[in-house]
Subunit: 299 residues, 2 copies
């Protein structure tokens, strides 16, 4: 936004109308290689308030819009019209806030319109199928907002870092993922992929909080530190996934997640913008409204 | 509550300590036959505020408790301790507010801890199994709050009214339901069964609202009036289900649902009381907290 304002002063741009970029534009990862380690986890791009104190009121405001748009999406899913739905994919290191976003941002909408899937290590049955099988099974139905807490990206993240499959296998997966996502988008699904960025220091602070607070011990797993020890490998794996799967059909959004209030606001606002862009209207009645009013009055 | 206060004045009770009945006690259906038509849909039993205006603040208050208790239930579900979970069953005529309760009361808790199942007419596959098969498949996992929007009670409601099965079949189902529910309770599930009571006049007003508002047409189905035409038959079927399945293991609660703000508050408060009665504590760490702090500091 800063650079937009500056360009207003240059003579070449003087007559162009100034438009605020949308959050979708602001957070979209540009094409090309990604230096994950150079990203700023505490930035607040596109946040319209002065600081943290502005967040609750902004969230309330989004909540009203979001609930309305979600209901309209749901209503369209019930009607026999165009099949539209939304798939929000949340990826990020432990403590980056996948759960917090679901609680605070997705918690703003009617739970009946949401399907949440949390992907763990695949079961024996799932391992017997191609890696996208269980992902396909978890797709949201018409009118629904599907949430993936982790996703098929684990198949090019942990699978690559821990060598759960050979290089030949995981290296083929990027294009398989791109083809699968393009297919969902073509079928009417709006895919919103969020990489929640934190630094090793952010993670240390948050793991420490969990260890310091007995009501948070259940969220802690000693295995978290084994993953933490491989941070550079994960950084390289994320860089590859972000670069190679940053398609026009399903681009990546980078969410700085060092500040929880920003992270929650950004994802809520991003989903809200995407829903708004669908331009949905309430489905028309497929019955004779006046005739039904008469029937009702007589009953 | 009124009668409790009066009894305080009588000499026999003079020395008894006065305790407010819990909402669980207040709303629990007494044993014996039920005259559904005589129930008051606009009553507000147990509501602690003066009127409707008190509802939003009371809901906010419950929301804080409920979110906390739900998280603790969820945490216990993750730990290898006692297996507890909750099953909230919502039954009532069209427009009685099943969806509204899920949005407003269940919407107060983390959607990750909730599993909602909306039961429609059974599919061909479901019809090939005993009627409790699909119900069993929809049970919440450990630590989860399961919500049934309609339930196995449809198998003694619409199935009885529309004679989808013979009398011999549906009349056997009451004891089958009782046995099934007792089994779930014995396995650690808290079953909360709510009958949402409205009158034919309440329903007329709400269907009329849906017909008058184009943003609500999608919620209206001409078939709703066919069901409405059979109101006395449904009333008899509800009376039988309420009386015959009002067990100690899984009693019925009657929720007057003519006032939406009361109905939403009552179900939220009822779930909150039931969660509180579990007396759950945060699970203990299954790892050495101090050792983990040292490992973290070194990483």
């Amino acid at each position: 936004m800063g650079s937009k304002k500056k360009s207003k002063k240059s003579s070449a741009d003087a007559e162009l109308p100034v438009r605020q970029p949308t959050l979708t534009e602001t957070l979209r990862l540009p094409p090309g290689p990604v230096d994950v380690g150079a990203l700023d986890s505490r930035a607040t791009p596109g946040f319209p308030g002065a600081d943290k104190d502005a967040a609750p009121a902004l969230m309330d405001q989004i909540g009203v819009d979001l609930a309305d748009r979600q209901e309209c999406l749901f209503a369209n899913g019930r009607a026999d019209g165009t099949r539209r739905n939304v798939l929000l994919i949340l990826q990020g290191m432990d403590t980056s806030g996948k759960g917090g976003i679901i609680r605070k941002a997705i918690g703003l909408v009617d739970p009946q319109g949401v399907r949440i899937t949390s992907f763990k290590a695949p079961t024996a049955e799932e391992r017997g199928h191609p890696f996208l099988w269980r992902i396909t099974n978890a797709l949201p139905g018409p009118g629904m907002i599907g949430i993936f807490d982790r996703s098929h990206y684990e198949d090019v993240l942990i699978a690559r870092v821990d060598e759960l499959v050979g290089r030949q296998t995981w290296s083929r997966r990027y294009s398989q993922i791109n083809a699968w996502e393009a297919k969902q988008v073509a079928a009417g699904t709006v895919v919103i992929k969020c990489y929640l960025h934190i630094t090793p220091d952010d993670q240390r602070d948050r793991l420490r909080e969990r260890l310091d607070d007995p009501t948070k011990h259940w969220k802690y797993n000693p295995g978290d530190l084994d993953v933490r020890a491989k941070w550079p490998d994960y950084q390289a794996a994320y860089a590859a996934a972000l670069e190679r799967c940053n398609t026009d059909a399903a681009p990546w959004f980078v969410i700085p997640a060092g500040r929880k209030w920003y992270r929650n606001w950004a994802v809520a606002a991003l989903v809200n913008e995407h829903l708004g862009a669908l331009g949905l209207t309430w489905p028309q009645a497929e019955f004779d409204v006046e005739a039904e009013k008469k029937r009702l009055a007589a009953l």
